[in-house]
């Protein structure tokens, strides 16, 4: 019996030690000078920029890698690894590359790395998630002129090519490092960016350190840590209590608390996302434009936006997010007019209303909108059944056109009107992102003309026309422009939020 007791005690002591030793590392305090700690809203999936399509991973990858061009704070494009470019013809762009740029492994950056990046990214067999973003590149014919000059052709004239090349999917990887690490490159990233990987604690944090040889000069802070803090209220508390210096995607319910906090600055900005209600324009009764317009007239968008999104959204002003260039501020938005709505419904043969299903995913604001819609449309005799689905099934169902009405948001993360409109309204994208199943030949022509037109002023005119056409066709009801907030401790300097959500830390310092 004594033996048993001794064993039990040894077991208990060993268990206690295991717990203590496992947790015995020194805590990294947020107060260490020149060490910036950031709360990301999710943990990173991989640090191979070609392989991911989630904002949390892209944000980190943007600190480790550079692209040929990069976004300015107002979503323009400026040189990065390319110093200059010119269009050789309407399908080919020639880049002059920056000389003397080093990768984190000490090797020189050349045109071979650019060619390699795009060739591997666009390799169908490789199955990289970022492939579809750059599918317009004619990868077979990328031509290296010399070490620092490269020509990149597109399959068709593609005026938005620079904004797409500035996207995080287009960041340049080191050819030799990819060949060295193979499938493990995502855990051993080698780029030319201002920070290099120091340590990856999977599921917890990515620790970066300053790359002193960066071509723009060393970053302000020596160390940069991204912690994955998935719970919104926990991110708020962490930045309030100084556990982190920067917290991304603050929940709307915490905005006021942080606005009143003197040690935290809340940066609120317009993200390039539009929240909207969409019809399946192929499914009766919504295949009749009068029914779609009637419902557009019947809804009080201001109320929907206010109740569902609060400070995290502002009532939509058009058929794409208003912060994207070529946005048409004069586009017709259906003001609330119940008489006109009744007229249109009667004309369409639905004077007594009808019953329909609003399909949504498990998202609180969308549920709120569906419920308010139910009460606003009841005046027209329209009854709404709400169907809530899991995200994956929801995407599949709406792509397949099995819905009546649904709700989605669209983030045009390149900041280009082509990205904002073409995926959602081009008839060739039915079965993919065109979930309203819009087929409008005049609109298709405009969208193709827009992406082929090299002149920016003419492009703007084309996209403005396209938005007017979309308004008259009413395949969606825009609800709100998205607003995001980043909370930053007051001792952080130089932080400028980017509308894309990929905020850069090269010039961010600590007082």
């Amino acid at each position: 019996m004594k033996k048993c007791r001794t064993r039990a005690m040894i077991f208990a002591v060993a268990l206690g030690f295991a717990v203590l030793i496992g947790c015995g590392q020194t805590e990294e305090a947020a107060v260490v000078e020149s060490h910036l700690i950031v709360a990301n809203f999710a943990e990173t999936q991989t640090m191979d920029p070609r392989a991911v399509e989630d904002t949390a991973s892209h944000w980190i990858n943007n600190q480790i890698f550079d692209g040929l061009v990069r976004r300015t704070d107002d979503m323009g494009v400026e040189p990065a690894l390319a110093t200059d470019w010119r269009f050789v013809d309407d399908r080919t762009i020639e880049f002059s590359l920056r000389q003397g740029v080093l990768f984190h492994n000490g090797e020189a950056f050349t045109a071979r790395d650019v060619k390699f990046t795009y060739e591997t990214l666009l390799d169908r067999e490789a199955g990289f998630a970022g492939r579809s973003r750059l599918a317009m590149i004619d990868v077979e014919n990328i031509e290296i002129i010399d070490d620092y000059t490269i020509r990149i052709p597109t399959n068709e004239p593609f005026a938005a090519v620079l904004t797409y090349l500035a996207h995080s999917s287009s960041l340049i990887v080191s050819k030799s490092a990819v060949e060295q690490f193979g499938a493990d490159f995502g855990a051993n990233p080698v780029g030319t960016g201002p920070f290099k990987l120091s340590r990856w604690d999977r599921g917890t944090a990515v620790h970066l350190e300053r790359f002193d040889e960066h071509w723009r000069g060393p970053a302000q802070v020596e160390r940069l840590t991204f912690r994955g803090v998935p719970e919104g209220s926990s991110r708020t508390i962490e930045v309030e209590t100084g556990g982190v210096h920067v917290a991304q995607t603050i929940p709307e319910t915490d905005f006021n608390r942080l606005r009143d906090n003197n040690s935290v600055e809340l940066h609120e900005y317009e993200a390039m996302r539009l929240h909207y209600i969409m019809f399946n324009t192929q499914s009766p009764p919504f295949d009749d434009v009068r029914v779609r317009q009637a419902i557009s007239y019947a809804l009080d968008i201001e109320e929907l936006a206010e109740v569902a999104y609060g400070d995290a959204g502002s009532p939509a002003r058009g058929y794409m997010n208003s912060s994207i260039w070529a946005f048409n501020p004069d586009v017709y938005l259906y003001p609330r007019n119940m008489d006109r709505a009744r007229e249109l419904l009667a004309e369409a043969g639905y004077a007594d209303g009808f019953r329909m299903t609003m399909t949504i995913n498990d998202d609180a604001p969308r549920q709120t909108i569906a419920e308010i819609m139910g009460s606003q449309l009841r005046e027209l005799g329209i009854e709404i059944d709400i169907e809530i689905m899991e995200w994956g099934a929801y995407l599949q169902m709406t792509a397949g056109g099995e819905h009546h009405m649904a709700q989605l948001a669209w983030l045009a993360s390149t900041g280009d009107p082509h990205h904002a409109l073409h995926p959602n309204y081009f008839s060739g994208n039915i079965g993919a992102a065109n979930r309203s199943h819009t087929v409008l030949p005049e609109l298709d022509e405009l969208l193709l003309a827009g992406v082929r037109e090299p002149d920016a002023a003419r492009r703007e005119q084309i996209y403005r026309e396209a938005q007017e056409l979309i308004s008259s066709f009413a395949p969606i009801i825009p609800v709100a422009d998205d607003r995001e907030a980043v909370a930053v401790r007051s001792n952080v300097t130089g932080f400028v939020p980017s509308p894309s959500g990929y905020h850069m830390f090269h010039e961010v310092g600590l007082d």
């Binding site: 039990a8 717990v19 999977r202 803090v229 689905m389 995200w391």
Partner: protein, 314 residues
């Protein structure tokens, strides 16, 4: 005994096969498509078709399951669809955090549960008993997310506002300080169960003749309760503790999310949402193994507590 252990381990194989088959079938027939979830929303139908081909999702169900089993017998659980990382690597990177939190929570749960349960039984129908049972009810009833946020508000926010520093970090992983709040949150609910089972088991034992005999012999109340009664009351408690440990090792999504704890529960939920079949399979397989081993350990522990049981292990 060794033969018994071997038999139990062999019987694990059909259990694991059954578990993987059921999970594979559920994931396969669930509406939705991993390829769609991996790609940007503006991916074309062609992009999605290519991705499905690359991931091998176009194969029939049984072929995919067969391939999974073939890989499994070679010790390969495949790679994550989303990240390309090996599933074993992903699970192993999360297991230590899960083990640490589960062990710490269990220590808290057992300490509170045993002491409160014994006191409640010995002082039946007194204020002590009522207090212990009320606290147990409270422990079961308090939602994890609420208790977690309350602890954070007190130990982090209120403390920082009052004293200029946080007593415990609001979230994160890596030090003992990070573990205290999540361990309390998880431990509290389990402590409540252990309290109730300890109490009822002790009450049953305390009514038996040999306890009366022990008291009549003049043994001290401590000796009677701890040496004579507790040992015999421990059997159901050990069962509950073992099962609870198995549950704790499965991770807690809510607690892990609030405290940004890198446990296996969050990994599973993220994988289910992304329909990352391989990762889900790998984690369920790990759960099944852990749970089976824990129940085996509990069975073996009976022999140490009650030597009479040993004879049954053949």
């Amino acid at each position: 005994m060794l033969r018994y252990i071997f038999k139990r381990l062999v019987s694990l194989i059909p259990v694991l096969l059954g578990a993987t088959f059921i999970v594979f079938a559920i994931m396969f027939f669930t509406p939705g498509d991993p390829a769609t979830l991996m790609l940007p929303q503006d991916a074309t139908a062609e992009d999605i078709a290519i991705m499905r081909e690359v991931l091998g999702l176009n194969q029939p169900f049984l072929i995919q399951y067969r391939d999974f089993l073939l890989r499994l017998v070679q010790g390969d659980l495949g790679n994550s669809f989303r990240t390309g990382q090996s599933v074993i690597g992903l699970i192993m990177s999360r297991l230590p955090a899960t083990m640490q939190l589960a062990s710490a929570s269990l220590v808290i749960a057992v300490m509170i549960g045993l002491i409160a349960g014994i006191i409640a039984a010995v002082r039946q129908y007194t204020v002590w008993d009522g207090g212990a049972m009320f606290t147990a009810l409270l422990g079961v009833s308090m939602p994890n997310f609420w208790l977690g946020l309350m602890l954070i508000l007190f130990f982090s926010v209120f403390w920082a506002a009052s004293f200029g520093y946080t007593l415990l970090p609001a979230s994160g992983y890596g030090t003992l300080r990070h573990m205290i709040m999540p361990a309390i949150v998880l431990g509290t609910a389990h402590a409540a169960f252990i309290t109730r089972i300890t109490r009822s088991s002790m009450l049953e034992v305390l009514r038996q003749d040999y306890i009366r005999m022990a008291r009549a012999k003049g043994l001290s109340p401590f000796q009677v309760v701890v040496v004579h009664a507790l040992r015999n009351a421990l059997m159901p408690v050990v069962t509950i503790v073992g099962l609870r440990f198995g549950v704790l090792l499965g991770g807690s999504v809510v607690t892990e999310r609030i405290f940004a704890w890198p446990g296996i529960g969050r990994l599973l939920i993220d994988a289910v949402r992304a329909q990352d079949y391989n990762v889900v399979q790998g984690i369920i397989l790990t759960y099944a193994i852990i749970f089976s081993l824990v129940t085996l350990a509990v069975d073996l522990l009976y022999a140490f507590i009650d030597p009479r049981v040993k004879t049954r292990y053949r």
